[in-house]
Amino acid sequence: MHRTVLNIILLVGLSFSLIVLISGMSAWRLPDNQQGYAPPQPIEYSHRLHAGELGLDCRFCHTAAEHGRHAGIPSTDVCMKCHRFVTASFDVMQDELTQADKEKRKPKAIVSDELQKLYDSLGLTDPQQPVSDSLSTSIPWVRVHNLPDYVYFDHSAHVTAGVTCQKCHGPVESMERLRQFEPLSMGWCVNCHRESTENGINGRAVRASTDCAVCHF
């Protein structure tokens, strides 16, 4: 009798721990897998806002993606193309304008905390000031997508072939903070190469080689 009860308890316990274990498996990663990595960045830049809501094309900022190996983290002066004028969120600036209009005064300059960091890095006291190389320092962005040193991935080759940015980077336009969406493991690369060779990209036949020397040299 006792034994039966004990057995039942054991069985329940076992199945429970199995369920926990299996559900934990999905969160378990191999040591080098950085999938889901989303480190805090020095400036809380929102891809969702820029690429999603405002609909900027990726290549508007990441200009090198078409031309070179690296997509390139945009240089800070690229930000200044807009942020010379846009110094805070649209709503806040709009409110201030209305308010100033109402109060019949000149609108105050409103600079958001995050954009202030941008101006600081360029050594600007006034966003309208021209950017000078000598005053500015680089913003130490934290690298999210980082392949091992022995892997040579060329952005331009993929962009030219018609691979969308999202194919590797995931729905960046919906990410508040950038996150590594795909595992970026070798198998993941290879399978995409195989699939593309078989089915083409956007209906165009391509030959995505799986030779070692395509990525490793």
């Binding site: 070179g68 190996r69 800070t76 500015s136 934290v142 030779d211 490793h216």
Partner: protein
């Protein structure tokens, strides 16, 4: 990159300087750090590792973008700039590949009228010299770090001291081909009543201009046009290796050595020399002749040729020649047959001997065809008589100020000690050296010049061919261009760029045919050089009276010492470059040392073995202790020692290579690499002589192990173990021109044809590209430029002497040098050997983890990151071209790491590596073509070795493209594959060597 084609391509437009000049000189202390910061920015993705570890992930990496993006810079793509090679005074054209602000790879400039696309080992090794932590970063005042304002103030103050400015001011430089610098020096010296510019070449050929002064009335170095020569007779002149302008000469020499089945002709090259030089090893006929015998042979030759030319009787007083009459007559006859298309060269420093040479060339009518005096060379302007006068002045205490730039004055001269003492009495001693060398340690002021890749300059190596140097990066240290230093001391304040530009505007532009200066300048910066009117110095008529009787008596001294410069280390300036130190000498294959080359006969007499330390003693009592090396083919009376060794500061290489309990340092702490042989240079009759008699040789009984990359040097296997009928190995096939003319496939051994039979079905048809390479052994001189090019391109580590001695050198391409024949009269063959990319690769089958497999385009690829290091592939490689990372080779020098090519993985310990046929270049070109939307064309891809080759011996391309250069080379009847009878199906083929000889072939093909 398609800068090779004649049409300017978009990339070519980028050959402009975009790197800011350091004109707005920031405060002294900050200069280095600021430029470093800017440099890091320029690197685009210079990545710093933060020790922060988030959530058990790999450490956080930050990516620093530009704050302001410079125009035209795309992170990760290299830009090519046209400039000039500063490695020696030959002034070859240089295309520098600059990637993310770092000059990484030096390539030859195909459009250049002199170098024609080649670049020697020294040029290839420039980046490592640039990223050298031992270069001075600050000016020094009496050995203490100082700043430029202080230096300028003190120097100007000293110069104004009474008794100094009106004393003898001497400015010593090596040959200066730069008209701007020469003008600046002249301008600076013009302030002093007794200011004089003395040009001193560490290895001088002062006797040639001196002889021309006598015979033609102008003291110039003629421009030798070897491309026009059908018969080349060279006395000692190592023109393919180190003499005057080896890259240019190699290209020219090679252009006459490509016999085709329909045109079986080539030049006839005879080398008469004492030691075994690179040039001699490539000659059709090599005659062993001690340097002191040149005069006698030349006199006989002169007599015979003169009698043919003007009918005068032969030189009766010449005595007996050290050469059989038959040989002399053959030389004379063939020279005479090819009059106007022949050339006689000589490296003797005896002016009388050189006038004889001039007379021979004159009688042969070579002036105006193979020897150009109208557009003379400026590649060697050193004037030994002036140097000797300066030495005299110094010793007499008559010099009040001494400025030395570009040469290690005291290191390269005999009587170093008394010279150093004399220099101590000079009131102002200024050095412009980029490092603390022997002379600059004696100097009061060291005003370090920029590295030539950091500054503006120009050069006119041959009159009328003028080229520009442009800065490729902001200076790494607080150095200053010599042009600017002289400008400051002459009261000006212009930047080096402005100085060059304004000189060109006033002095060079008028010689050109361009419309506007801006166009001329832009084109020159873009092209890297400009062809302008030569500055004419009209040579006079040949003055037969200048030809004096030379003393042709041959000394009966036991030994004659021949001092020579080594390929790759011609100059003590390059002694700090570990790539060049580890470059195996093309002939001896020894690295990291100089030594006394002795002939096998002399070695036999003294019972010497390689590495036995011997003492050389001159009549004047100078001694030199060096290990001996037995050199087949050397004259029995000749001892040969390389100059430019024993350089101060080379103990820096004590720590090069891996460190472990069994390791022996490359050089002892405080020691130097090799021994300085400059003490044996003899000053006689107004020239510095590199050959002298009266040398005694003594054995010490001690040993100094030499590190050679080759252990067995002969095509013959050792007779003791040679199988009957197979005493010879046949990696190098050769034939004679006579045999080739009869049958273009002569020299092919009967049994060695590749079989088309396969044991198994062919499952791997190559439908796309099929990369392949053809190496013309008839063109390859063994100069080893490809070796350094490969090292630079592919991040091949330097391993140090001990590792080389353990036969673990890492070079991906090696030049196998084989002797054949007897110990005295040997034939030499050079064979570049690298991964043969066999289609049936034995290495691939045995790798357990698929780390080395075949690509669909026929490459044998090696995935370093998959390799577990069983070394089975290397064992099973019949060509032994695989290289294993025995250790983690040091990469601690962060500055030196900037020379690493970011396109190629730096291999870690325990993995195998080998030639990849520059697969990174293939991929880059492929992606470029894809981006352009154009197909990949023949010539779009050049491997590093191919690009560098001065002889254009290497052709790479798509074997599936019937119109490619490699396909047409493959159709040559001279084609063969090494070990192809084993059916490895190598993708690298060789073209059989053809020697311009009459003799019949031996059975089954002649071997080298």
């Amino acid at each position: 990159m398609n800068q090779i084609s004649g049409q300017p391509s978009p990339d070519r437009r980028l050959r402009r300087h975009t790197v800011p000049e350091p004109d707005s000189a920031p405060p002294a202390d900050e200069l280095f750090s600021v430029s470093r910061r800017r440099f890091l920015e320029a690197a685009g993705f210079a990545v710093s590792l933060a020790a922060l570890q988030g959530c058990g992930r790999t450490p956080t990496e930050t990516a620093l973008p530009f704050a302001v993006q410079p125009e035209g810079v795309i992170p990760g793509r290299s830009l090519t700039y046209a400039t000039t090679c500063p490695g020696c005074s030959a002034g070859c054209g240089l295309l520098a590949r600059v990637r993310d602000g770092r000059p990484l790879k030096m390539e030859g400039m195909p459009e250049h009228p002199l170098s024609a696309g080649g670049l020697c080992a020294i040029g290839q090794a420039l980046p490592l010299g640039l990223y050298d932590t031992h270069r001075l970063r600050h000016p020094l005042h009496r050995g203490e770090q100082s700043d430029w304002e202080e230096i300028d103030r003190l120097i100007l103050q000293t110069l104004q001291q009474p008794g100094l400015s009106d004393g003898a001011v001497r400015f010593v430089t090596p040959t200066i081909t730069s008209p701007t610098l020469k003008a600046s020096i002249d301008r600076f010296l013009s302030r002093f009543p007794d200011g004089r510019h003395v040009m001193f070449d560490a290895v001088s050929c002062s006797a040639i201009p001196d002889a021309h002064e006598r015979t033609h009335g102008v003291r110039v170095l003629p421009h030798f046009r070897l491309a026009r020569a059908d018969v080349i007779v060279a006395f000692g002149a190592d023109f393919l290796g180190t003499w005057i302008s080896p890259v240019e000469f190699t290209a020219a020499w090679r252009s006459r050595r490509a016999p085709a089945p329909d045109r079986p002709t080539m030049s006839w090259h005879v080398q008469l020399e004492g030691r075994m030089s690179l040039t001699g090893s490539n000659a059709d006929r090599r005659i062993r002749l001690a340097p002191d015998e040149y005069a006698s042979v030349l006199r006989h030759l002169h007599g015979r040729i003169r009698s043919m030319a003007v009918g005068s009787p032969p030189d009766a007083a010449a005595g007996s020649a050290p050469l059989p009459d038959r040989d002399l007559q053959e030389l004379a006859d063939r020279l005479w047959e090819a009059r106007g298309r022949s050339i006689v060269l000589c490296d003797s420093q005896d002016v009388a001997v050189q006038t004889l040479v001039n007379s021979i060339n004159h009688h042969l009518g070579n002036y105006g065809s193979t020897i150009d005096l109208e557009r003379p060379g400026r590649q060697r302007q050193g004037n030994d008589r002036e140097v000797l006068r300066l030495l005299d002045d110094l010793k007499q205490g008559r010099v009040s100020a001494l400025f030395v730039a570009g040469t290690d004055f005291t290191h390269n001269l005999p009587e170093r000690r008394s010279l150093a003492e004399a220099i101590e009495n000079v009131r102002l001693v200024v050095s412009f050296s980029e490092r603390l060398d022997d002379f600059s340690s004696l100097a009061h002021f060291v005003c370090p010049d920029h590295h030539p890749l950091e500054s503006w300059a120009d050069a006119e190596p041959v009159s009328g061919i003028i080229s520009l140097f442009q800065p490729l990066l902001a200076p790494l240290g607080e150095t200053r261009s010599i042009l600017e230093s002289l400008e400051r001391w002459s009261g000006g304040s212009r930047s080096a760029g402005d100085i060059v530009r304004s000189f060109w505007e006033t002095d060079v532009f008028p010689r050109s045919s361009a419309e506007s200066f801006q166009d001329f300048w832009d084109q020159a910066v873009h092209d890297g050089f400009a062809e302008v009117e030569p500055t004419t110095e009209t040579p006079g008529d040949f003055n037969a009276a200048a030809v004096v009787e030379v003393d042709a008596t041959v000394s009966d001294d036991e030994y004659c010492l021949s001092l020579y410069s080594k390929v790759g280390l011609t100059d003590s300036r390059h002694a700090h470059n570990p790539w060049l130190q580890e470059l195996p000498d093309p002939i001896t294959k020894v690295t990291w040392d100089n030594y006394v080359c002795v002939s096998p006969a002399a070695a036999g007499r003294l019972e010497l073995h390689d590495g036995d330390v011997v003492i050389l003693e001159s009549e004047t009592g100078d001694t030199l202790e060096l290990p001996a090396l037995i050199q087949p083919g050397q004259h029995d009376r000749v001892l040969a020692v390389a100059l430019a060794y024993g350089v101060r500061g080379t103990d820096r290489f004590a720590g090069v290579g891996p460190r472990w309990i069994g390791a022996e340092p490359t050089v002892s702490e405080g020691g130097v690499i090799g021994e300085n042989a400059a003490g044996f240079i003899e000053a006689r009759d107004g020239t510095l002589r590199y050959a002298r008699n009266g040398i005694r040789l003594r054995k010490t009984g001690r040993r100094h192990e030499l590190a050679s990359t080759q252990e067995h040097h002969w095509l013959e296997v050792p007779p003791r173990v040679a199988p009957y009928g197979a005493e010879m190995r046949e990696p190098i096939q050769s034939t004679t021109l006579a045999a080739f003319a009869r049958d273009p496939s002569a020299g092919s051994p009967e049994s060695h044809h590749q079989s088309d039979v396969q044991l198994w079905p062919e499952d791997h048809p190559k439908t796309g590209h099929a990369w392949g390479m053809v190496i013309d052994l008839n063109a390859c001189t063994g100069c080893s430029a490809c070796l350094i090019a490969c090292q630079s391109e592919n991040n091949v580590p330097v391993v140090g002497k001990d590792e080389v001695r353990r036969q673990r050198e890492m070079h991906w391409i090696r030049i196998d040098r084989y002797y054949s024949g007897t110990g005295d009269e040997v034939d030499v063959g050079h064979q570049p050997m690298m991964c043969q990319h066999c289609d049936n690769a034995p290495c691939e089958t045995v790798c357990p983890v698929l780390a080395t497999v075949h690509s669909q385009e026929g490459l044998n690829v090696q995935a370093y990151n998959r390799c577990v290091g069983t070394r089975y592939c290397a064992n099973n490689c019949p060509y032994k071209v695989r290289r294993f990372n025995w250790f983690e080779y040091p990469h601690e020098d962060e500055l030196q790491n900037l020379a690493l090519n970011p396109d190629v993985t730096v291999r870690s310990r325990g993995v195998m590596e080998k030639c990849s046929m520059c697969v990174q270049r293939i991929e880059e070109a492929r992606i470029d073509a894809k981006r352009r939307g154009a197909p990949l064309l023949d010539g779009d891809i050049q491997t590093a070795c191919q690009q560098s080759c001065p002889a254009q011996a290497i052709v790479f391309g798509d074997m599936n493209d019937p119109n490619s250069a490699v396909s047409s080379a493959l159709n040559s009847p001279r084609r063969y594959g090494v070990l192809e009878e084993f059916n490895f199906r190598p993708s690298v083929s060789y073209l059989r060597m053809v020697r311009n000889r009459e003799e019949e072939q031996h059975e089954g093909g002649e071997h080298v």
